[in-house]
Amino acid sequence: MNTTGNEHYISFQPENCTQCHGCEIACKAWRELEYGVQYRRVRNLWRGDYPEIRSFTLSLACLHCVEPACAAVCPSEAITKEAEGGVVTVDEALCTGCKLCAEACPFGVPQFGEEGVMQKCDLCHSHQPADCDPPCVDTCPGKALVFVKEGASEKRNAEQRLVRLISSAE
């Protein structure tokens, strides 16, 4: 475990994102996701009005929040925040597919495929060797996605930055 903190997540720097969608499809291909299910989404957001209008991009997957709202509302305790790295994981055997987590998540992260149980980004913990970045990070041409390990307060700040970014769009 990293000694500088115990929160792992993938941070997003909008100024480095060219909206190529490489991360979105890297995730779909590497995790062999079914049609309609997305662990990572790339969205175009607008700010201002024509002709003083600009756009910016959001590449969004599970933030593995310090206090995950999804876990708090889960009636079957299927969602856990792990001690190591703070990764938020789903126990598919316990999930009943009630979708309360989807309502609770401020970022629209929880996905439900054919089987009806919640699935989402798990940072590819179980899929990648230790010295390799998750495929979405590995494929990013502008290093807009960075795998970071830091303390809970920095992590909370990152969550707030994302909330502000989303709410700044019109």
């Binding site: 100024e15 480095n16 060219t18 909206q19 190529c20 969608h21 490489g22 979105e24 499809i25 890297a26 779909k28 291909a29 590497w30 049609y35 309609g36 997305q38 175009n44 607008w46 009005d49 024509y50 002709p51 209008i53 600009r54 756009s55 910016f56 991009t57 990648q128 060797p129 010295d131 390799c132 970045d133 495929p135 590995d138 494929t139 990013c140 041409p141 502008g142």
Partner: protein, 736 residues
């Protein structure tokens, strides 16, 4: 990731990691040239990672690259060679072997050559592909000049620049303080390629970014200044910028004096193109035109990255010349941070286009010269305009093309004038399709040959700036496939041109071409991630050399007769074209045909590139189709609400020439007088339950919306075809 990491991951998952070259932005042959690791599990191609060692993509890979396995295993893959048994257009075929198909083609082409001459054959080319030289080689060996180039891509810029400046002025991204992206898509055109990285690096170091195009794409979203120009009016904007820099004396007198020809004529000529006039044409406010002209002229390290967007208008050549002239007279040529001339590499693979056989007879036989015959051959050899080849089938002027081979290109969705193309395909005597997946016009083919994807072959060698690589076969071909390269070798041999086609031996073809580089394929393959080549150091102000460069025209006269930048162009004047850049309206426009604006009040144009598709390919790939499932029309919310159109409503878009049924996307980042759509829509995606769209009216094929009037729809010098018209958009109602 690097090779070692790829191998570690592969081992962890019971896979093999195979270093090779991505082929997704040049289907049927490598295009962008990014290095990848292809992962294979039990003989199945599963996924892709970018190769750190490749200097092109440096470990990144885009959405298309990641979707490669779905392309290879698509339900739309052609299964085996086919020969038509029903009527044209009926789509009834019998299965034949590769050999029978090749023999059949050779027999028909031999007969057509005997009866009508070799020129009766044309080969339509997609954008530049690794196999393009094989098309040219085959045509020259056969005796036909009719290489059918699209007339809307790259060569239009090259032609105007070379005959104005002697070379293509490349943007010096890495040293510029100001970068003007003009009709350019630096991201979608290669999201992991050097220009996209340079865009981000320029932003990071604080360079000012200007974007000139009709709508806000991600690059505009990140720009400092946006000039929302009306589609097809770049020439008007450029001429007004010339007016401003000359009027305000913002020019480099020393350079103009020493290295430019015809400044006085230019000065007098651009007096008429005031910013006020330009605003009425291009829709960019006077203050923005003046400010950009001043900013560019007074920023020493300022560069212009001119994109494909300017090549789709009747004054395309004028726009490009005017922009080249603007670079020259403001002192922005071949200086640090400006537009620079790149020296050709010391060693290049052998040229295989047989250009030593080009002669007057060959050039005069062109059915529809892309550039005037006096300027043929150009860089890629002699060429006819793609659309004019098809048109000749109907008009029989100057003579009818009787045989067409279409390798990796779809005439019904790749060129303008869909209705003409459809009629031509119905009448065409012999039509051969060579492709990976089914195409829009397959029902009209006499022979269909299915080719291997680049993941199923071990050639060609791959030579791009900075990188030389031997690709590796990732999986065995999924059917009786050969590559497009092998198609031309086999056909060449069957036609009796074996001496020109390495007796049909693809390995010999590769080794022969690599010889000038001092190695063969086997030796190159010893470098699993290729050979990285350092670019030669850049030196500047090479005017004496560049301005005296010889052209590829017969006899090789220099591009610039005076050895100076052609502000006033004698070469064009001698052939009856304007010596100075002019303005020509698109066939229909708000400023040129205001009488149409009552019935058709909005400007329509189309996007050439997208983040997830290569031209008209790849709509059948589920991963990519999910990003953009239906054809959408970008329409400003005000224009939409005036028509009671809401987000995701289906709409009818009608021009004087045809109509489409597409979905509205309320898009705040587009000119309110303009609507735009991506071109190339027809193909469904069976995996997602999406059906094909009609090719003709009522589908989403934007090509049929434009004029193809020979008097109005073309740039007279470079055959650029218009992609602007006027339309009305109405909410779709059933029983309409």
């Amino acid at each position: 990731m690097n090779f070692q990491q790829a191998q570690t991951i592969a081992q962890l998952n019971g896979e093999e990691a195979i270093p090779t070259v991505c082929g997704m932005c040049g289907p049927g042959g490598p295009g962008g040239g990014c290095g990848i690791y292809a992962f294979v599990r039990n003989g199945v191609f599963t996924r892709v990672a970018g190769m750190d060692e490749c200097p092109v993509n440096k470990g990144a890979i885009c959405a298309k690259g990641h979707a490669a396995p779905q392309w290879v295993y698509s339900a739309d893959r052609l299964k085996y060679p086919l020969r038509r048994v029903g009527k044209k257009g009926e789509g009834k075929f019998e299965r034949v072997s590769w050999e029978v198909a090749i023999t059949h083609i050779a027999e028909v082409l031999t007969e057509q050559k005997a009866l009508h001459g070799a020129k009766s054959l044309a080969i339509l080319t997609p954008a530049k592909r690794a196999y393009s030289a094989y098309l040219q080689r085959f045509l020259t060996a056969h005796g036909s000049p009719n290489y059918g180039h699209s007339g809307i891509c790259a060569m239009q810029r090259a032609f105007a620049f070379l005959y104005t400046l002697g070379d293509y002025p490349r943007p010096d991204y890495n040293n510029a303080d100001l970068i003007i992206y003009w009709g350019r898509q630096p991201i979608y055109a290669g999201p992991v390629a050097p220009p996209a990285r340079a865009f981000l690096a320029a932003k990071k170091r604080g360079a000012k970014i200007v974007a000139i195009k009709p709508s806000v794409e991600p690059d505009v979203g990140m720009a400092d200044i946006w000039l929302p120009v009306r589609p097809g009016t770049d020439a008007a904007l450029a001429l007004a910028m010339l007016h401003v820099v000359i009027r305000e004396n913002l020019i480099d007198h020393e350079f103009v004096e020493k290295w430019c020809y015809g400044f006085n004529q230019l000065r007098d000529h651009v007096l008429q193109f005031t910013p006020e006039w330009a605003e009425s044409v291009c829709g960019v406010p006077v203050f923005q035109i003046e400010e950009l002209a001043r900013l560019y002229a007074t920023t020493p390290r300022a560069t212009i990255d001119l994109g494909n967007g300017v090549e789709h208008a009747p004054s395309a050549n004028d726009a490009i010349r005017a922009i080249g002239i603007l670079m020259a007279i403001t002192g922005h040529l071949d200086r640090k941070g400006a537009n620079i001339f790149i020296k050709p590499p010391a060693n290049a693979p052998k040229d295989i286009t047989l250009r030593d056989r080009y002669d007057r007879d060959l050039v005069e036989a062109l059915v529809g010269p892309e550039f005037p015959p006096a300027f043929q051959p150009f860089l890629e050899g002699p060429s006819s305009a793609y659309y004019r080849i098809l048109e000749s089938v109907l008009t029989e002027k100057p003579y009818p093309i009787r045989g067409i081979i279409a390798p990796g290109t779809q005439p019904l969705v790749s060129t303008r004038g869909t209705k003409t193309v459809l009629a031509a395909l119905e009448k065409l005597e012999f039509f051969v399709i060579v492709d990976v997946a089914r195409t829009a016009e397959m029902a009209y083919a006499d022979i269909v040959l299915p080719v291997a994807t680049c993941y199923e072959t071990d050639h060609p060698y791959h030579n791009v700036p900075g990188w030389l690589m031997a690709p590796n076969r990732v999986i065995e071909p999924l059917g009786p496939y050969k590559s497009t390269f092998e198609f031309f070798l086999d056909l060449g041999k069957a036609m009796g041109y074996g001496n020109d086609f390495w007796s049909g031996d693809i390995a010999a073809a590769m080794d022969d071409q690599l010889m000038p580089l001092g190695l063969d394929m086997a030796q190159l393959r010893q470098h699993p991630t290729g050979i990285v080549k350092q670019p030669p150091p850049q030196d500047y102000e090479k005017y004496q050399t560049v301005f005296n460069r010889r052209s590829p025209r017969l006899g090789n006269p220099p591009f610039l007769p005076q050895g100076k930048v052609a502000l006033y162009n004698n070469s064009f004047e001698q052939e009856g074209f304007s010596p100075l850049p002019e303005w020509r309206e698109p066939p229909e426009s708000l400023s040129g045909t205001p009488e149409l604006a009552g019935e058709y009040p909005l400007i329509l144009s189309d996007y050439h590139t997208s983040r997830n598709y290569s031209a008209s390919w790849q709509r059948n790939i589920p991963h990519l189709r999910e990003i953009q499932p239906v054809p959408v029309l970008h329409i400003h919310p005000e224009a939409a609400s005036a028509r009671e159109i809401s987000e995701h409503d289906w709409v009818r878009v009608s021009s004087p020439y045809g109509w489409m049924k597409v979905q509205a996307e309320l898009y705040p980042g587009i000119r309110p007088d303009t609507v735009m759509i991506l071109h190339g829509w027809w193909q469904g995606c069976s995996e997602l339950g999406i059906e094909d769209y009609p090719i003709a009216d009522g589908g989403a094929n934007v090509n049929l919306m434009y004029s193809v009037d020979p008097e109005k729809a073309y740039d007279p010098l470079v055959t650029a075809m218009t992609s602007q018209t006027l339309v009305e958009v109405t909410k779709w109602r059933e029983l309409q």
